[in-house]
């Protein structure tokens, strides 16, 4: 079965079972998102994709499209909300973009640019978090983790390893690694894992490859993520 609904007045077709996000992606309409990656089960945690559907606020990635639904996406009100969510994510961690190898190809940054965020403005939490450089090929900087759980899903559902987990609760929730020492180097993680390629931010990074692309030519330097698409999909293409 199929049908159609609208996003900001544009008619979008869908197949039964597709989420608003799936249908929008297929129709090349950009709905800002961070925890969503079409290769994995929808998660619904970042809330960036929240739209209104017939007036009700819902997450586009976890809400099924239905016939005749009227979805509002890029309204002033929704964009303002998204900026607030982004600001919360920025102040929750330690995001020092000038010192981050992911800068320019980071989805958190790119979505923030798209939504017109100039500064995080809130009070910063400055949490004390570690960097795990124990693995020969991959580094994890927990300062930049936004808890999207894409690595958790990729390692569990694709790699079959469940290397990553979430522990703690509330503002103390944090990413953990399954190994006797809790460090990546002692885990079953390999740089060829899917989980190595899904992080939307600079939390899971390949070693020995920093700052390869000059400023100005990086993924999001010239054009908005709404045109360019997700960093993970580009990574997949590059890696063949």
């Amino acid at each position: 079965m199929s049908g159609s609904f609208s996003i900001d007045g544009v008619t979008v077709p869908f197949e039964t079972g597709q989420s608003i996000m799936d249908a929008a992606l297929a129709a090349k309409i950009y709905i800002p998102h961070l925890c969503h990656n079409p290769e994995f089960q929808p998660h619904g945690s970042c809330r960036l994709c929240c739209v209104t559907a017939n007036g009700r606020t819902v997450a586009a990635c976890t809400t099924l499209a239905t016939d005749g639904l009227e979805v509002a996406n890029e309204t002033h009100e929704i964009t303002t909300r998204r900026r607030l969510l982004l600001k919360l994510l920025f102040v929750e961690g330690n995001h020092v973009c000038p010192a981050c190898e992911k800068s320019g190809a980071c989805q958190l940054q790119a979505v923030a640019y798209h939504c017109g965020m100039l500064a995080p403005e809130f009070v910063h939490f400055y949490p004390k978090r570690a960097v795990d450089a124990s693995h020969p090929e991959t580094i994890i900087d927990f300062n930049r983790c936004i808890l999207c759980e894409l690595c958790v899903r990729a390692s569990r559902d694709h790699d079959g390893k469940s290397v990553f987990n979430i522990s703690g609760r509330g503002i103390d929730a944090h990413l953990t690694i399954d190994s006797p020492s809790g460090r990546l180097g002692d885990s079953r993680f390999s740089a060829s894992d899917k989980a190595a390629r899904v992080c939307p931010v600079g939390a899971i990074l390949p070693k020995h490859r920093g700052y390869e692309i000059p400023i100005g030519r990086r993924l999001y330097d010239q054009e908005s993520i709404s045109q360019v698409g997700d960093v993970a999909s580009h990574r997949e293409q590059e890696d063949g």
Binding site: F90, V91, N94, H95, V96, C97, P98, A99, C100, S103, G104, Q109, A112, Y113, G116, L118, A119, P120, E121, V123, H124, Y126, K128, R129, I215, D221, Q222, E223, S224
Partner: protein
């Protein structure tokens, strides 16, 4: 155009990169200078800030002196602008927030490598350090934020230009970046 717009600038816990970027405006600066005049800045000799239209602040707040300067700017400027990553979120200097101040000072002056006479400086001439580095909006109200490390000359120019012309300030996609 009536009077010139009076601008003051300061570098707190920053690297002067944002000021360099301001100078990078190059020849367009000449057009601007017809409309602006500088009050206290590292580029002039004026030591005390006077009444200003715009204050541009580079760098975060890491010591007592930074706080005083920032408050003076807020008192004297109609519009206060956070320029650059350090002013906006503490930037690189705020990476010391991962450690306690004691740890930082001990590492720098007592236990670090190549230290001759281990002693933590306590000269009253030196501004005392805050326990954490803060973005400037933690201390005073900030009217506008210009991100970048540094913001490009083009971004700063656009900001000043549109401010002068009284237009709503709009940036092209490429003018906004956090690094």
């Amino acid at each position: 155009m009536a009077d010139k717009i009076r601008i003051a600038t300061a570098s707190l816990a920053g690297c002067f990169g944002c000021h360099m970027s301001l100078l990078d405006i190059d020849e367009r600066l000449i057009d601007l200078v017809a409309h602006i005049e500088f009050d206290r800045t590292p580029l002039t000799d004026i030591k005390q800030i006077g009444r200003c239209d715009v204050g541009l602040i580079e760098g975060g707040v890491c010591n007592a002196e930074n706080v005083e300067v920032l408050k003076a700017f807020r008192r004297h400027c109609n519009l206060l602008v956070a320029v650059g990553a350090c002013a906006i979120n503490g930037g690189i200097p705020a990476m010391r927030n991962q450690y306690s101040l004691t740890e930082c000072l001990e590492e720098a002056y007592l236990h670090g490598s190549g230290i001759d006479q281990p002693q933590i400086p306590s000269d009253p001439e030196l501004p005392l350090l805050l326990d954490q580095v803060h973005p400037i909006h933690d201390v005073v109200w900030i009217d506008y934020f210009l991100p970048g490390c540094p913001p490009s000359a083009d971004t700063i120019f656009t900001f000043l230009d549109e401010l002068l012309s009284g237009k709503p300030i709009r940036f092209a996609y490429r003018q906004i970046h956090y690094d």
